[in-house]
Amino acid sequence: MVRILGFLVGLVFAGVAVISFFVNLVGNIQSPPEATAEEEYHVHPKALHLQSDGPFGSFDRQQVQRGFQIYKEVCSACHSMKLVAFRDLHELGYSEAEVKAIANQWATEVPSVNPDTGEPATRKATPADHFPAPYANETAARAANNNALPPDLSLMTKARHGGAAYVYSILTGYRNQPTELVKKFPGAKTPQGLHYNPYFANLNIAMPQPLVSDGQVTYAEGNPKPTVDQMAKDVSAFLVWTAEPKLENRHHYGWAVLLFLLVGTVLGYLSYQNIWAEAKRKVAPVGPLDPVNKAKRTRATKKAGVAG
């Protein structure tokens, strides 16, 4: 009974799936899906190699500090970074006094309350504060940016396929829209107020090119020249740190744990072999089937010159 019912149910479900298959097939043949500009012109991020890559990866403090400088002087005008606190900057090699100074001199202040009147006010940031956001709220951010919302950058390299390479590619990917694209897809012309960037999912990004010229930011003595490419790399490295500040701990502990597990597993395996050797001997083929006896017999037959 179960099998007859099952048979019918199976026929129905498999049948409807197959019907769906053929209906779609016919549909696709009659009106093949049209290509879109995104499909043809969107490109995957360029390769970017950072010191934080790979299982031995660590942060290049110098580079991440440069990236922080770019964020502070360029990006932070529009992009918040709510998950990172000034105190976290210790990990980048800034001293306590430097962190205090950075917090104190931050362009935007922290919202607070006037202790005398209770009116909304602002105060200088302290190391315990998170980076203050440039806009009070989403509406203010959209109003100031042509109705586009500059996303929070704290987790950017974990929140996009391609991670740091994606950020780097976007920052260096601005160009004029190819004329063939517009010829082929007249509807896909970059609208007013947007900017063509093939690394962006729908090709047209609201953010104007943020890093426009070499030397836009002045690096301290002993750093590489601040070319657009270098600055894009540095800020990408910084965003790797903001998204995953514990990356170095993770790698260090990871290796220790793996080494421990490796030794433990090998020991466990030897112990297992040990324990089972006994069991195998106990059940092992006995009498003529015992490999030892068998070998003896083979030797004996060989000695005797009897053909196997």
Binding site: A14, S20, P33, G254, S271, N274, A279
Partner: protein, 430 residues
């Protein structure tokens, strides 16, 4: 428990005897996972995944309890509380990644465990209840995992909650009220998040309880084995401890190694970047997919694109639920008296096809929607239902199985390496 030669528990100390007479807990443990549980001596490594599943359940419960000490189930604060765990809580990043990847490993291990049962006929009499309780655990796991994925309140969390509860709206009349009831609102929000957290904390303990039943039911007939032949004499078995504790122990080490590689060096590999974007009820991510362990079912859901008598949406949802429910009937669909797939040449071929089919479904479920992927998914879906409901019953009726060994020890005798293989199929080791 059920074998005459199972060693009874003998307390070694006076205190042990005193305790045993009052509360025979040590006796219970000894009989369940100690020297008092005789296990077929020819189990291969596929049998290690049951204990491994127990280990990962423990990992999940332990890390979960600890994470709950820092997480707050608030629509405004959930996302930030996870990042607080990742950044500020001592060893928080490890706890969170361990829980995240622990879920994936729990599913990996359970999937291997299920497919082992499918191949070696572990669902057949007298182990039907073991199989069905296992499926109950699996369903509970899916519910727990889904609700856990909602908790970070990222984009995928939010839209996952929206889509999964949307399944219910496929059912006519009662569907929409059920969906609204589940969410406690018209869209996922505070009410949904709080109840998901509550249930996400509760269900693992239910899973643990059903696991006890699963093991209890297993201990009545005892474990199946690669030959599928019943245990006949003491020679066929070994006590669980120390033999299988040693084997499970070192294998657990190896699995934990793989798990730690993922946790420490590619913790987000199995996740989706969009879940690092806070939930936004006004923007759906471009490419929304569930976690990888749901992909095959997601592919089945998406395969029904045509209204045939009832709407396509309802086909998709019933098929998706049906694809799991039909497994409950497996013991009665496959009536072949031979358990082990090793002795069933035709079954073996179709089993290979089934694995391939589920892999294809998995791929399609995680891939973007293109006409080719949809078509592939539709064929794979058709095969999935045909396999269990049409092919298996027919195969079990018409197939001629290979000769079985007369006992487990006989199968062991023809060579350690070929323990599981039928006689005459592989060359003896000696």
């Amino acid at each position: 428990m059920s074998f005459a030669w199972a060693k009874p528990y003998e307390p070694k100390t006076g205190l042990g005897r005193w305790f045993d007479e009052r509360l025979p807990l040590p006796r219970l443990v000894y009989g369940a996972i100690g020297g008092g549980y005789p296990v077929p001596r020819n189990l291969n490594y596929w049998w290690n995944f049951g204990v491994a599943a127990g280990i990962f359940l423990t990992v999940q419960i332990v890390t979960g309890i600890v994470l709950a000490m820092h997480y707050y189930a608030s629509a405004d604060g959930a996302f930030n509380s996870i990042e607080h765990i990742m950044r500020d809580v001592n060893a928080g990043w490890w706890l969170r990644y361990a829980h995240m990847n622990g879920a994936s490993f729990f599913f990996i291990v359970v999937y291997v465990h299920i497919f082992r049962g499918l191949f070696y006929g572990s669902y057949k009499a007298p182990r039907e209840l073991v199989w069905m309780l296992g499926l109950v655990i699996y369903l509970l796991m899916m519910a727990t995992a889904f609700m856990g994925y909602v908790l970070p309140w990222g984009q995928m969390s939010y839209w996952g909650a929206q889509v999964i509860t949307g399944f219910f709206s496929a059912f006519p009349v009662v569907g929409e009220p059920i969906r609204v009831w589940l969410l406690g609102g018209y869209a996922p929000d505070q009410a949904a998040l709080t109840r998901f957290f509550s249930l996400h904390y509760l269900l693992p303990f239910v899973i643990a309880a059903v696991t006890v039943l699963h093991i209890w039911a297993l201990h009545i007939p005892g474990s199946n084995n690669p030959t599928g032949v019943d245990v006949k004499t003491e020679k066929d078995t070994l006590p669980f401890h120390p033999f299988y504790t040693a084997k499970d122990g070192w294998f657990a080490g190896a699995l934990l190694f793989a798990y730690c590689v993922l946790t420490f060096f590619a913790p987000n590999y199995l996740g989706h970047p969009d879940n690092y974007i806070p939930a936004n009820p006004l923007a759906t991510p471009a490419h929304i997919v569930p976690e990888w362990y749901f992909w095959p079912f997601y592919a089945i859901l998406r395969s029904f694109t045509v209204d045939v008598i009832i709407p396509a949406k309802l086909w998709g949802v019933t098929a998706m639920f049906g694809s799991i429910l039909l497994l409950f009937f497996l013991p009665w669909l496959d009536k072949s008296p031979v358990r082990s797939g090793s002795y069933r040449p035709v079954f073996k071929r179709f089993f290979g096809l089934l694995i391939l089919d589920v892999l294809v479904l998995g791929y399609v479920g995680g891939a973007p929607i293109t006409p080719l992927n949809i078509a592939l998914g539709q064929l794979a879906t058709a095969y999935y239902f045909a396999h269990f409901l049409i092919i298996l019953p027919l195969v079990s009726k018409f197939e001629t199985p290979l000769p079985l060994p007369s006992s487990i020890s006989e199968s062991v005798l023809h060579g350690e390496k070929a323990e599981a293989a039928p006689i005459g199929q592989t060359k003896p080791a000696n």
